[in-house]
């Protein structure tokens, strides 16, 4: 069987490529098409006629704008919290812990991913219960009380869920850092803090951005955690969820908002080289 390397490469990637085109790009396209169709408001049946009414509805109604802003606030908060926790964790794992214990530490970071998403979120639900929850029991002696269900609970829950996705890329970035570069910084007179902020952070910045792509996009699209921990708090995902059986084209239009935000986000971080770090 004499075939050119190009043909072999093509046959190798054809299956994943077909998957990507049909399942992924195809469904995005279907989403877009659906968002420009009409609906019979009485029967909830989709009418395949062009309209921009769905987008006009989304963008003219203040309520949806507010949901978008709330979703962004949550996604940004979750990302920042994950960055703040993950950087020292990753630094410890990659540079301070003995090389022998690193695989164990990575396994420990990954263990939460082995448990079901729902189990973890329901666990947080019992902790956040007002009056009877664990957090209330913990904080009440200090004169505080559990924040209860709402935005704060959602942010904490999502930060917990997505933290491993932030730790791993930063860990990989910090582990690649040669010791000699850190030595060189100290050699040139920089104290450890200066070395960390002047050398370690800038060099691992693309890895941090890579992690943020995960935490940001996963938070943007989530609606189950929001249902369980959010109380009356809603995000874009919930709006989509509530509308998709009643008004599919409108749900599609709302669902395009996080897609557009992610495209803008990816475009703006492209220059940092983060996409090479994924």
């Amino acid at each position: 069987m004499q075939r050119s390397p190009k043909a072999r490469a093509a046959s190798l990637i054809s299956l994943p490529l077909a998957w990507l085109l049909i399942i992924y790009i195809g469904s995005l396209f279907a989403l877009f098409i659906t968002s420009i169709w009409k609906i019979d408001t009485f029967t909830s049946k989709v009418i395949r006629e062009f309209t921009l009414q769905n987008f006009i509805d989304v963008f003219s109604d203040r309520a949806y704008f507010n949901v978008t802003i709330r979703t962004l606030v949550v996604a940004i908060s979750v990302t920042l919290i994950c960055v703040l926790i993950a950087i020292p964790m990753a630094f410890f794992m990659a540079r301070i812990a003995k090389p022998k214990s690193r695989p164990v530490l990575i396994a420990l970071v990954l263990t939460p991913l082995w448990a079901s998403y729902l189990v973890k979120i329901y666990a947080w639900r019992t902790m956040f219960y007002p009056e009877t929850g664990f957090l209330n029991w913990l904080i009440s002696p200090l004169g505080g009380s559990s924040p209860g269900f709402g935005m704060i609970a959602v942010i904490i829950g999502l930060s917990y869920l997505w933290l491993p996705y932030m730790v791993l890329p930063i860990y990989a970035g910090m582990e690649k850092l040669p010791n000699s570069v850190l030595d060189a910084s100290a050699d040139l007179g920089a104290k450890p803090g200066r070395t960390f902020f002047g050398v370690v952070l800038p060099i691992t910045w693309p890895a941090i951005i890579a992690g943020s792509i995960f935490t940001f996009s996963l938070s943007m699209g989530d609606y189950i955690t929001v249902q369980i921990l959010g109380g009356t708090f809603q995000m874009l995902g919930n709006v989509v969820y509530q509308n998709f059986s009643l008004n599919l084209p409108f749900a599609a239009a709302v669902a395009l908002i996080p897609v557009i935000i992610m495209i803008i986000y990816l475009g703006s971080v492209r220059k940092t080289g983060a996409l090479d770090n994924l």
């Binding site: 000699s180 570069v181 030595d183 050699d187 040139l188 002047g198 060099i203």
Partner: protein, 330 residues
Amino acid sequence: MALIEIRNLAKAFGTVKAVDGVDLDINSGEFITLLGPSGSGKTTVLRMIAGFEDPDSGTIKLSGQDITHLPPYDRDVNTVFQDYALFPHMDVLANIEYGMRVKKVPKEERREKALKALEQVRLSGYENRKPSQLSGGQRQRVALARALVNRPSVLLLDEPLGALDLKLRQQMQIELKELQREVGITFIFVTHDQEEALTMSDRIAVFDKGRIQQLDKPAAIYEKPRNEFVAGFVGVSNLISGAAAEKLLGKKGTFTVRPEKIRIEGKGAAGVIREVEYLGPATRFLVELDAGVRLVVLQQNSEQSAVDVESLRGRKIALSWDKESEYQVS
């Protein structure tokens, strides 16, 4: 008083004694080379002077001040690393200015000194390149400028030429030496390349098994090696010992004769040429003497036509040398 005084320095990694009792005085303005095979402890000594390794025992003094346990950032020394260790996210100028920026040197002065240092290493015009856009030799020079611009009392060089190709290495050897004379800073240079050590150094400390085997001027190290290790590591050893020594030299002990001091003549110690290596300006012969030793002989290709030296393989010849070329190593 010596600029650097090292006393009884020791460091072990686990059960391995990397450095095992080193005493070394280094004078101001000197170019001293720590020479030895890998694992001989030379780099560990350098790293302890820089402050990257903490000695188990012993002291290091710099200008009379005990710096044994000071962190690297409190020492008036700078290092040129084997892998250059340039900061990949900064351009050349920012790399060179880093030390001065940390020490809060005013911007104007910083810029001026950095540009001058860049000129010194002949890289003017490259200030806005990123390290990834430079060749190995250029990175080397940036690393040198970054260290020298701080005018440390000692510059530590950890096999800085190891990654360069031969031509560039030889050129950098000359440049480094010139630069050292120009700036007058003490250089401590680590290498495993004996030729490099011989051409560049004022003094050489030959390391093996965590100890200094010999500390002397290059010529003395080469001509008068103190023991078998030094004789073998610096140049070709040509050791004659035991029965062969008694037979050939009429003396007991271990002796060395450098290859270039041996003549191939009709008279003297009889033997057979086993190997011939044509080197261009010279030819190297491996001669097996009837007395039971193998000696390497180096001959300039100045006299007869050297084109047919290959044909000498297998020929019976005799070797001779002057009595004063025999040197007892132990």
